[in-house]
Amino acid sequence: MSLSQRQLALLLIAPGLALVAALFLYPLCFSLISAFTGPQGGFSLQAFAKAYELYSGDILFTVIIVLASCLLTGLVATIIAGTLTLGENRFIVGTLKALYRWPLFIPFIVAAQCMRTFLAKNGLMNNSFVAMGLMEPLQAMSFLDWRGIIATFVWKQTPFVALLLAGALAALDRATLEAGRNLGASRLRVLVELALPQVMPQLLVALVLSFVTMLSVLSVPMMVAGSQPTMLTVDMAFRINAYGDYSTANALGVITYLISAGAAIIYLKRGMAQEGTR
């Protein structure tokens, strides 16, 4: 029996599909079912009621933290990528180029540990300010709360977004940008009005990916900030570790899927709209 082209193709992707099914789809379905199962078995929304009752504040906290981090990441990444493409001072561009990618190579848990000593009340940052005479020791305050989480996320995700954005900006047709410059537009104006609109899709992809990544980090909220309020990942871990309660943890997981699905939908909608105009 000879295989048709189609069968052969199916055969070739079978191992990959099997892996996805076994390592992703199966656990996903498992957790979905568990989230909707009551203590006595059978369909129940009890886990969601509990998740809402105990963690509604944390759900909101998570969304706000991740959105704020995304916005700031986008802003800082735009500044970095813009400077890299449009900057005219060779020294600044060279230094930035050499430096900006470093956080990419640092795992979240290490970043969290560094921030823990950096952002503390008597930590490296405040102590340096005091030593430089910029601040009185009594003015020092701890950033080990929501601000610490955002700072860690932004620091860690900016190079990733900047990398994608700088690539996209470098691929643009320089002629339009230079035409803008020749007609007297400032560099900022060229970046905001000419360059950015053309690379919006890439920026959006990078931000959606960052959004999902930040949503799933456990170590940073655990290590940088205290636990009230905290992010959903910490609550999920706590639900399992303290009570062995998988249903509520899975319900929180489903809520996290929904939040990240929201981000994906915004992205897809935008993609479709663009396809339509072409």
Binding site: E53, L54, T117, Y243
Partner: protein, 376 residues
């Protein structure tokens, strides 16, 4: 298909060959120091006394989650002929459940040193009867650490503590209940102090109506939290004490002394076990019902709970209180090492204010009550 079957059986044969039949797998819940304790200290000692035996030490992580992982593994291997672990080191909460579900072996009668154990926790684990199934590896205790430079007279009880925190906002730090057990212990101590009858929570029996009495205690704790700092974890509390950002906070006694010995905490830090007390807990040695090496496992635990090892390993190396009755350590330990453990907290204070955690159902109620009424 046949090739796969063949390969699998071959692999299984290699794994189960007589060479590795002499491997003793020890799984520890708890921090890395406990994994290292077996790997670097107990393991080599046991291997020397039993030529041909290899001790493998694995860690499943700190806190109750570590024990939960061991429980899940044993539960998943219920149907198998043998389980991967031969000796497990677990927390109290999981021990009760494992005994109830028949995952552990009733081994202590075969181990001589079990006669040296007198503590109540060897029989009763948060309300579950575990006698015969476990032996304490050590006893650990939480207490309030404070900076003696900033604070001459530490609060003697929780009411004084409440007043002190009101007068000194943001000078007291603890890690809530999601950041580690010392915070949980503090909350349990709070409920013991203000939630009515502590003995009832510790001894049972469980009465679901009891938790209604804690509302006032939780409301006060919510108020208390406004003037307290929620730190990121056990180590976070110690970090902040060390940097002088807070003056007081609940910590594990052994962790406190170890940090002090390493120079990570200044000598001006002291401990206080405020009345009515805070919980401590043992870690248990247990043998899974389906362990392939029951005899070796028992010998291993006998060594680990022998007076000499308890003195050198548990007390001297880690500043834990011994798992066996302390009087058996006499003569095995120099006075300095022994006194160090009892400098700040006298044996009498420890006996009076060192409390167990509440029985499991109350324990869960306290945690959930905290989530509902304090953290939310």
């Amino acid at each position: 298909m046949r090739i796969i079957t063949l390969a699998c059986s071959l692999a299984a044969l290699i794994v189960a060959s007589p060479l590795s039949a002499q491997t003793l797998n020890v799984a520890s819940a708890g921090d890395q120091n406990m994994v290292d304790y077996v790997k670097d200290y107990l393991g080599p000692m046991f291997e020397k006394a039993h030529p041909g035996v290899k001790v493998v030490s694995v860690g499943t992580g700190p806190g109750d989650s570590g024990s939960q992982k061991i429980y899940e593994k044993l539960d998943a291997q219920k149907g198998a002929a043998t389980t991967d672990f031969d000796v497990v080191v677990i927390h109290q909460k999981a021990a009760g459940q494992m005994v109830k579900e028949g995952l552990l072996n009733k081994y202590t009668a075969n181990v001589d040193t079990s006669k040296l154990v007198s503590s109540e926790t060897a029989k009763n684990s948060l309300g579950a009867d575990v006698s015969g199934y476990v032996m304490p590896m050590f006893q650990s205790q939480t207490a309030l650490a404070y900076n003696a430079d900033m604070l001459k007279n530490p609060p003697a009880n929780f009411t004084e503590l409440k007043e002190w925190v009101k007068k000194n906002p943001k000078q007291f730090g603890y890690n809530g209940i999601k950041g580690g057990m010392s915070g949980v212990a503090f909350v349990a101590g709070w409920v013991y102090a203000f939630g009515g009858d502590a003995d009832k929570l510790i001894q049972g029996p469980y009465d679901a109506a009891e938790k209604a009495k804690w509302d006032k205690a939780f409301a006060e704790l919510k108020e208390f939290n406004k003037n307290a700092v929620i730190t990121p974890g056990n180590a976070g509390t110690l970090d902040m004490l060390n940097r002088g950002e807070i003056a007081m906070g609940p910590v594990w006694v052994d962790m406190f002394y170890s940090w002090q010995a390493d120079g990570k905490l200044p000598p001006s830090m002291k401990l206080k076990l405020a009345s009515p007390g805070m919980p401590g807990q043992p870690m248990y040695y247990a043998v899974p019902e389906k362990s392939a090496q029951k005899k070796l496992a028992e010998e291993f635990i006998a060594l680990a709970t022998s007076p000499q090892v308890q003195a050198d390993g548990i007390v001297k190396k880690f500043n834990w209180y011994p798992g066996i009755d302390a009087k058996n350590l006499e003569g095995k330990l120099d006075k300095a090492a022994w006194d160090k453990l009892f400098t700040d907290i006298t044996p009498a204070e420890l006996a009076k204010n060192g409390k167990p955690f509440p029985i499991a159902p109350y324990f869960n109620d306290i945690l959930e009550g905290y989530e509902k009424k304090v953290a939310n």
